[in-house]
């Protein structure tokens, strides 16, 4: 490893050059330099910044103090708002920030940062402190690498600089920058007490709503040990010794591909890309885990045991979903989400007999889109940029019976008096594994069959002759053609 720390720009270029990412490799040198994200459009952008992405990726490490170096906006407006669950430590839910004021801007914020680290060590004594760089201190030139280095030496607590100022790019880039920080400063710095041929890493799983715990019992049953989950319900030391795993599964599409790929390169840990969403995806993932472990020296009988578990669990899941298939058959779903969920959830919903009338692919990679095509067929309605107005129109015209999306767009559905389900990071329900898919189907059924929809669409007694748009929407839904009117297809 290089002894000098590469600059943030170098790191970003490095991330853009990711050989594990087919999309980037297909680009010319010049194109690649521009990065993988579309130029953000002022007045038309939505979504988080790189800092947001870095925090999403790392905050699930539960025993670490996550210290945000910046003015109050970055942490004050956003802390303790993510659904990653912990089996023990609560430190990750404490909001730490240097809350930079005018003084720190004028004289530099490094001193305040150093003192903040000392206070955290003295009061909370965490195994490590992650220091997040934000726009303002990046602009005034605060060197958090140097402060972290000095503080680590002085206090004996590893202080990890996360170079993630918001203006360098969107959330997805932040995920990767977080991964770079782990690769550079954390992974490989500790040794596990013991290793087994059944040790795996799960990369890019954040244990939102406890989803890792929906999967873990099956791994436990198979004798497979999660040596490290990066980063759901992880302890610092577990990430630090993750380089001793025999194989890895990369969960969240490309968000942390740099971590998976570089760990393969550096530590010879083979990985595959898989998903815990959807029955078949779950089975495939278990198979892949078993296959990789056996390849790396685990007893071949693991494969038979895995197949037995898969057969049993699939049968249970199908049996649990069967009663719903009839009720949900033909129900139309509008799926507004990003990246991996756009295809992994599609398969799951189709398993329950539902029809996907549209899915957003704004954040999806080309591979994601290919997968969607494979699953949904060539006439898959993929939307690159579905405007809120268009979503609203689709719901109102009853081109969809239910919308699945993140919290920010929920009101587009609710204001149209249409069912909506949260499938993003703030959600409270867990949908992973075999159980999770049954739960998702149950939730959708519960939502669709709730009599409240009839109630809320009831017009006010004083409403005039002219029917409200809601009546019109209901009227139109009655004689709707089965095929949705052709929406603009993504290129």
């Amino acid at each position: 490893m290089a002894t000098t720390t590469p600059s943030l720009n170098q790191t970003i270029q490095d991330v853009f050059n990711e050989p594990g990412c087919g999309k980037n490799q297909a680009k010319s040198e010049k194109e690649r330099k521009k990065g993988c994200t579309k130029q953000l459009q002022p007045g038309g952008a939505a979504g988080g910044c790189a800092f947001d992405g870095a925090k999403i990726a790392l905050q699930p490490i539960t025993d670490v103090a996550h210290l945000v170096h910046g003015p109050i906006a970055c942490e004050g407006n956003s802390w303790d708002n993510r659904g990653a669950k912990s089996s023990g430590a609560r430190t990750y839910r404490t909001g730490f920030t240097t809350d930079m004021d005018e003084n720190s801007i004028v004289f530099g914020g490094e001193k305040k940062l150093y003192k903040s680290i000392r206070e955290i060590v003295e009061k909370y004594d965490p195994p490590a402190i992650f220091v997040y760089q934000t726009c303002v201190p990046a602009m005034i030139g605060d060197d958090i690498d140097a402060v972290c280095k000095a503080a680590s030496e002085k206090f004996g607590t590893p202080c990890i600089p996360i170079q993630s100022p918001g203006f360098v790019g969107p959330k997805n880039l932040g995920n990767k920058l977080a991964g770079e920080a782990l690769l550079r400063h954390v992974i490989g710095t500790q040794e596990p007490e013991y290793t087994t041929p059944y040790d795996i890493n799960i990369i890019g799983e954040y244990n939102l709503a406890g989803e890792l715990w929906q999967v873990k019992p099956l791994l436990d049953e198979l004798g497979i040990r999660i040596l490290s989950c990066i980063s759901g319900d992880a302890k610092y030391k577990e990430v630090a010794w993750s380089h001793r795993a025999k194989a890895a599964m990369m969960v969240c599409s490309k968000a942390m591909i740099n971590v998976a790929r570089k760990m393969e390169e550096r530590y010879d840990i083979p990985f595959f890309e898989g998903s815990f969403y959807g029955i078949e995806d779950m089975s495939d993932s278990l198979r892949e885990i078993a296959r990789l472990l056996v390849e790396r020296g685990a007893d071949a009988e693991l494969i038979d045991r895995t197949e037995a578990v898969i057969t049993r669990e699939e049968a249970r899941a199908w049996a649990a979903i069967e009663p719903y298939r009839q009720r949900l058959s033909g129900k139309k779903v509008l799926l507004i989400t990003g990246g991996v969920k756009s295809w992994s959830v599609v398969a799951a919903l189709q398993e329950a007999g539902m029809e996907i009338v549209g899915t957003s692919v704004k954040k999806s990679t080309r591979e994601d889109k290919e997968k969607i095509k494979k699953i949904m067929g060539d006439d898959a309605h993929m939307y690159d940029d579905l405007t809120p107005r268009e979503m609203y129109r689709m719901l109102r015209k009853a081109e969809a019976d239910i919308m699945l999306s993140g919290g920010r767009s929920q009101f587009i559905a609710l204001k149209a008096s249409m069912p909506w389900l949260d499938i993003n990071q703030e959600r409270h329900a867990a949908y992973a594994g075999y159980h999770g898919m049954v739960e998702l189907v149950q939730e959708i059924d519960r939502s669709l069959s709730n009599p409240v929809w009839q109630e809320v669409r009831r017009p006010a007694p004083w409403a005039g002759e002219e029917a409200s748009w809601q009546d019109r929407a209901i009227g139109e839904s009655a004689d709707m053609p089965r095929e949705p009117t052709a929406p603009a297809k993504a290129a």
Binding site: G43, G70, N81, D99, P388, E426
Partner: protein, 459 residues
């Protein structure tokens, strides 16, 4: 009299404070057909958006100039111009309210100049109102951002009346502080209208964030005060400002249009409500409606019933200055002791708070200072502290992300104060300590450690 202490910690732990730009953005959301725009990195907007969505449980219009690293070094104006043009194209707003952020303030962007430039370059946007306000993240707090944005709205939209114009004495301007919920504003509107007066709220988040179902989809705000209503505020007989934070806006309105103002530092509690009602009766020339005479009686009765459970309790309270002011004086009047008070930013009201010290700090300070408090009063982020302290948590302020009906929590007026007494009293009664056999075993020891309150007995 309280001493104001600023926390000396380098590290803020569990922030109570939120930033100025989103306070400003919320004020713009109280305008009809508005799109607030934060001039900064897209994360500034995204965090604010998520926060408001979770609090109001509403779609929130909020856009960003999406400053990239390169734009931060080289550009600025182009981003603002493009953002305005894109918003106009996509959403056709009546008003765009622009707030600066830390990034663009450090960069030194001259928003006022930008707006002038946009006006020059785009005569086709003549019908669009553009209001800008400087709200760096590294000074002040949410409340300050709100106050500055309202002042900017006054300066940008209110038209000075012509010299021969006759004031309409029935017209009343209301400048509500950001501590008033949509429910509070509705309550206040009812009270003012009961005197035959016609209030114009600037801004009016009750119209836009009260959770109503709109007739059609609109990506901008769904209600709120219209530009022409704001323009006409210069003809009103009076301005009523709620909360000390609204003084600069009220003064600006007086300066610009000559409308005299009366500032009510709070509307929670018997005496301040009496003052408001008397004032309204005076300026309207009407007697106090029967409804409010009855409500006053109900409040007095609630105070009598409620003082048993609220009196003598120790309260730890963390809120922005005006909300802190309203709640702590009210609690004090009910006989509660303000064990510790933490706030976010400087304000003239702080030194008058009914406690020894008030700390400009965070929720860690509040938790530490709470000690043997019986009740925690702060926004939803106090939930972890309340859990550790094993005391009830009355959630109030922004954000309230784990509560239904945050927009409809009413704590002002006779009725709002009455209901607040019931809510707090019930919380405290539920946590009432059941006597245990060992309670009095070492009772003398406990008695000597309990401090006497400094209050003089009322003769």
């Amino acid at each position: 009299m309280a001493q104001i202490v600023k926390s000396t910690k380098a590290c803020t732990v569990n922030p109570l404070k939120m930033s100025q730009p989103i306070g400003g953005a919320l004020a713009f959301m109280g305008m009809r057909g508005a799109m607030p725009l934060l001039h900064g990195s897209q994360g500034c907007t995204s965090f604010g958006l998520v926060l408001f969505v979770r609090h109001f449980r509403e779609a929130i219009p909020l856009q960003t100039t999406a400053m990239s690293e390169v734009a931060t070094v080289l550009g600025g104006f182009e981003n603002v111009e493009q953002a305005v043009l894109n918003i106009v194209k996509k959403t056709g707003p009546e008003l765009i309210g622009i707030c600066s952020t830390g990034v663009t303030e450090i960069k030194g962007d001259d928003l006022a100049g930008f707006v002038t430039q946009i006006r020059d370059r785009h005569p086709e946007l003549a019908d669009l109102a553009l209001v800008q306000v400087g709200t760096p993240d590294f000074t002040g707090a949410f409340q300050d951002g709100w106050a500055k944005a309202v002042k900017a709205l006054v300066e940008g939209l209110v038209e000075p009346p012509p010299a021969d114009a006759k004031r309409d004495v029935r017209q009343v301007n209301v400048l509500p502080g950001c501590h008033l919920t949509p429910g509070d504003i509705d309550e206040l509107r009812d009270i003012i209208e009961a005197f035959g007066l016609e209030p114009t709220f600037l801004p009016d988040i009750s119209g836009s964030l009260d959770g109503h179902i709109p007739d059609d989809f609109t990506p901008t705000t769904l209600g709120g005060t219209g530009r022409e209503e704001a323009a006409a505020m210069g003809l009103a007989g009076w301005t009523i400002a709620i909360g000390e934070q609204m003084r600069p806006a009220a003064e600006a309105l007086e300066k610009k249009a000559g409308v005299p103002f009366r500032l009510f530092d709070r509307l929670t509690g018997l005496a301040p409500c009496d003052e408001l009602i008397c004032f309204l009766s005076e300026i309207s020339g009407r007697p106090v409606p029967r409804k409010y005479r009855r409500q006053r009686g109900q409040l007095v009765d609630a105070m009598l019933d409620g003082h048993f459970s609220i009196g003598g309790t120790r309260v730890a309270i963390g809120a922005e200055p005006d909300l802190l002011h309203a709640l702590s004086h009210f609690l004090h009047e009910m006989g509660a002791q303000i064990r510790t008070a933490v706030t976010t930013t400087q304000s003239p009201v702080l030194s008058e708070l009914p406690c020894e010290t008030v700390l400009i700090g965070d929720l860690e300070d509040l938790e530490e200072g709470a000690g043997d408090a019986d009740l925690l009063v702060t926004h939803s982020h106090g939930r972890q502290a309340a859990e550790r302290l094993h005391i009830p948590h009355f959630k109030v302020g922004i954000p309230m992300f784990d509560t239904l009906g945050a927009a409809h929590l009413v704590t002002i007026g006779y009725r709002g104060t009455r209901d607040l007494i019931f809510t707090l009293g019930n919380m405290l009664m539920e946590h009432h300590h059941e006597p245990q056999p060992e309670d009095w075993r070492d009772a003398w020891l406990q008695l000597t450690t309990a401090p006497l309150t400094e209050e003089e007995p009322v003769p």
